[in-house]
């Protein structure tokens, strides 16, 4: 996190892109675009452009990784070399290895792995263009790709990142707010079950700020979940998701 000194919120309480403190960036989601994958979802969230695809359940290779009582969930979060300002080396960085692990652990609570013993389920998250909150956007897409693949799930998983900018709690940090702000807190939840499956915290939060940011992230996650459900609906039943569905889901 940065020093938090750059002025990112104006006198009228508007952020650089005109958003209010608790407002999400524009989000659009499409399910099922990829031809070869068993399931897929594409999300644009702010400037993030992320494709998630799922293969499986499939045979486990190498054999010694087989789990007798459940599926082996694999996950890779990967950034395209052209996804960031400076070209990224295509080899996986330590950051990507860690994020792959926390994404896998954010998705696994929702996947009924016990239904697929001795198989592998692979989740590939490719960041084509990166902005603040790419891991929660990746999780949001990945859980849709799992659903699209017909994998048995307890709930969807959806995320949102909140944080501290100019000593104020704000929702859904973009890249500049993430780098210049003083705190970033990505959270993923199972919205129906009301459980948290990912939590990472960067920056300095008082006890009150922590709670406010954390609860805001959960609330915003539920809002994004409405869009997830609309996207799934439009994939399987055609047509556009109706506003009432979105609102109902957002409650």
């Amino acid at each position: 996190m940065g020093e938090g000194k750059t002025k990112l919120i104006d006198e009228a309480g508007r952020r650089r892109d005109g958003r209010k403190w608790d407002e999400l960036r524009p989000i659009s989601i499409q399910v099922g675009l990829m031809k070869n994958a068993d399931g897929s979802a594409y999300i644009e969230w702010g400037k993030n452009k992320i494709m998630a695809a799922v293969y499986g359940p499939k045979e486990v290779h190498p054999k010694h990784q087989v789990l007798a009582d459940r599926a082996l969930l694999r996950c890779r979060y990967h950034m395209a070399p052209f996804s960031v300002d400076e070209r990224k080396n295509p080899a996986p960085s330590r950051r990507e290895i860690e994020i792959s692990k926390v994404i896998r652990e954010a998705l696994q609570p929702a996947v009924i792995v016990e239904d697929y013993p001795r198989t592998a389920i692979e989740v590939w998250v490719e960041v084509l263009q990166s902005d603040g909150g790419s891991r929660v956007a990746g999780i949001t897409a990945a859980s849709l790709a799992l659903a699209d693949a017909g994998i048995n799930m307890r709930d969807l998983v959806v995320g949102c990142s909140c944080g501290i900018v100019n000593d104020q709690v704000v929702a859904d940090l973009d890249d500049t707010e993430d780098k210049e702000g003083s705190g970033d807190m990505p959270v993923a939840i199972m919205p129906t079950l009301g459980k948290v499956t990912l939590l990472q915290v960067d920056g300095i939060y008082t006890r009150e700020q922590f709670q406010k940011a954390f609860e805001l992230a959960i609330e915003k996650g539920k809002q994004v979940n409405a869009m997830q459900r609309a996207a799934l609906n439009s994939r399987f039943f055609g047509g556009e998701a109706t506003t009432s569905e979105v609102e109902e889901a957002a409650e």
């Binding site: 990829m34 695809a53 890779r76 070399p81 052209f82 400076e86 070209r87 590939w124 490719e126 263009q129």
Partner: protein, 268 residues
């Protein structure tokens, strides 16, 4: 990738039988590419980008430009690098990890077509001879594999480069300084790759995955605007007759014109 010998053998026999009467399983002519769709500017953070659909094969290419140190043997030329990753999400057979032999060949063959056609004038990318030049990286994400990655990737790279812009640099006291002005990458040519597969004794253009599973040999021929050949690569574990090679050259020159027009149209 070849899993089931029995199924494969049956499938190939059927394909050969159809080809004998000039038919392909998806009803294309032997010299007909699948539908080509080119979108540019798909990655605004890149200096240039394109997404290409060739049938169900999908590739995204992104250009990134920075300054770098020239190679010792070309001190007054810019640097061009093409890389490709066959993403694990593109196919049930792709795996994560360092670039496979196939991905390396793909990137090098596409690179060769760009480089040998002199598409990008590397001399114009020199800033301070022997010290600072402009480096152009083109990275290709293979998003969905349905055959003929060579052509799809080549078209994506060409379209991304044709629409790429970069900071204008000025040289002061032997130091290159970036200005705020954006200028196009110095593109001179539009190379077009055409890939053929031999299945039995018939040669078809733009093979899809099913045809690649049955093909005996693959050959790519790249031509530039003047109708000259600038690159070629034969692949796979069987041979081709000299006459078939020359016929492929003629077809590549002919189809190259049509596809060049499409790419030019999509990137103007």
């Amino acid at each position: 990738m070849k899993k089931n010998y029995v199924m494969e053998t049956i499938r190939k026999a059927q394909m050969v039988q159809m080809l004998a009467v000039g038919k392909r399983m998806d009803d294309r002519g032997l010299d007909q590419h699948r539908e080509l769709k080119i979108e540019t500017g798909v990655i605004p953070k890149a200096n240039g980008s394109a997404r290409v659909f060739l049938g169900n094969t999908q590739v995204i290419a992104g250009v990134k430009i920075a300054t770098g140190i020239p190679f010792p043997d070309t001190p007054d030329k810019g640097i061009l690098m093409v890389n490709a990753e066959i993403l694990p999400l593109s196919s049930p057979y792709a795996e994560p990890g360092p670039p496979s032999e196939d991905a390396i060949e793909l990137a090098r063959v596409v690179d060769r077509g760009i480089r040998e056609s002199k598409m990008v004038d590397l001399g114009k990318l020199n800033l301070v001879s022997g010290k600072t030049v402009i480096a152009v990286f083109v990275d290709c994400n293979i998003m969905n594999v349905d055959g003929n990655l060579f052509d799809a990737t080549s078209y994506a790279v060409v379209a991304a480069l044709r629409t790429a812009t970069m900071k204008k640099y000025v040289v002061k006291d032997d130091k290159a300084v970036a200005t705020d002005q954006m200028v196009p990458v110095p593109v001179e040519k539009t190379p077009v790759s055409v890939t053929f597969a031999r299945i039995g004794d018939r040669v078809v253009v733009d093979p899809n995955t099913e045809e690649e599973a049955s093909m005996d040999m693959r050959i790519t021929i790249t031509t530039e605007d003047g109708g000259n050949v600038c690159a070629s690569q034969k692949g796979e574990a069987d041979s081709i007759t000299p006459a078939q090679v020359l016929q492929a050259v003629d077809t590549s020159i002919r189809l190259g014109k049509e596809i060049r027009a499409k790419i030019t149209e999509a990137t103007k």
